[in-house]
Subunit: 232 residues, 2 copies
DNA sequence: ACAAAAGTGTTCATCCTACACCCATGC
DNA sequence: GCATGGGTGTAGGATGAACACTTTTGT
């Protein structure tokens, strides 16, 4: 019997959510995985996921799952797409909607209700074999991210609020998988007028301190309306 | 009671599919709509859609719906994304997975099992008010298409197999919403080596006949592997 | 002094744009 | 011959890659 508004908190059958949560540390892209406590794939690391309630939107469900896991809200979160192969899930037919999130190091307050052994950051190179079609989802998410990051200024969501130009460059080098020329990268970014100088410098570095910048979202929104598009 | 393999042909509850089917005629982008024969929105034009069976993948379901409607298979078809707002559908909770298809004029054999009054092409300017969140889906699809067409050679799916450079240019002008310079457009495309000359010319035109070309998918696939990316 | 990274300048090839121009064909 | 679109040429500006160079700061 299909459930309706009579049971608003009940979950929708055959439809789940999975989240790709990306972070950036030590010049490497990381992904957050959870360890299954029970069920068929007990002990296996997998993408964090959950079910959609009848009385919440799909986006809201993804945000809820993310919040439960990290304790943080207002994180960059977008839908990737749905994965609907017949055999993607072994025990019954489940279609999943995949989301991807980009979190700043400041938000790395893991595990509201979780222990360190439940939730862990994995460097992309160290990701274990994932169950179901989670490897496909991860691969699709990475490809999507790699592409999107070049055309929209979303990469800033992976950096602390204040960052140096080198940090930004290294982020892009990691995401795009290629070295970039420092002077050229610097000039290109500066010419966009999207970096707001913090009038501060790095501290505790054993070399000349770099200026800190913030991403200027307001200006970006204004420029976007006028037809400007962020490139590379 | 959740349905399982016991009833493989049964449909999945609370999950539907909607298709944006784009065509190109008279230098205008068209979209295919169907008229609802029954139910709440009887008489209204809406996106063609359907339900997913327990024994078919989501992509397969979209292809099936598309085939039932147009009688054609092997059409360019990709998932846009899922739309999961709580209130997007009035009578009960339904999340939909939206797909978009690009069809060539040759495939305009409408209505296997439909009459002309059931299914119709609408110029984008003449699209009536759509029910549910179908306007949102259309808008999202258009935005996506506009972007994607610049970075991947999918526009060819909207043209006949053999086309002239001007047809191609006019397609892009319609999609991007701007005039393009003929000589430059021509050179840019030719330099990519993705257009295979048919060694044929137009007939029945009251001016100098243009050469016909085909899109060279094989070469494109080869170039892609080597890192080439189609741009504009 | 040296290491390490911050920043600046300059060259050169390449690409893109804008526009002028000639060609072929039907009426 | 003239309208219509097919198709080519070219000058000049903008862009971007490559790399040399100077500056600042901690050890």
């Amino acid at each position: 019997m299909p459930m309706t508004h009579d049971a608003p908190d009940a979950i929708i059958d055959a439809l789940s959510i999975d989240c790709l949560i990306f972070g950036f540390q030590k010049n490497e892209l990381d992904i957050l995985l959870v360890q299954h406590g029970e069920g068929i794939s007990k002990g296996k690391w997998a993408l964090p996921g959950g079910w959609i309630k009848y009385n919440e939107g799909a986006d809201d469900a993804a945000a809820r799952i993310l919040h439960d896991l990290t304790g943080v809200s207002r994180i960059y979160l977008e839908q990737l797409r749905a994965f609907g192969d017949v055999h993607r899930y072994p025990t019954k037919r489940v279609i999943t909607i995949a989301y991807y999130a980009l979190v700043k190091p400041e938000a790395y307050t893991l595990g509201a209700g979780f222990t360190a052994s439940d939730v862990k950051w994995f460097k992309l190179g160290d990701v274990p074999t994932l169950p179901y079609d989670h490897s496909d989802i991860l691969e699709a998410g990475l490809r999507h991210l790699k592409h999107k990051v070049r055309h929209e200024p979303i990469g800033f969501n992976l950096l602390p609020r204040k960052f140096t130009l080198l940090q930004l460059q290294e982020l892009y080098e990691a995401l795009l998988g290629q070295k970039l020329d420092k002077p050229n990268f610097r000039r290109k970014l500066m010419k966009m007028n999207l970096l707001l100088p913090c009038k501060e410098k790095q501290t505790d570095v054993s070399h000349r301190a770099a200026s800190l910048y913030r991403f200027d979202k307001k200006t970006y929104d204004k420029l976007s309306e006028k037809g400007f598009t962020f490139e590379l």
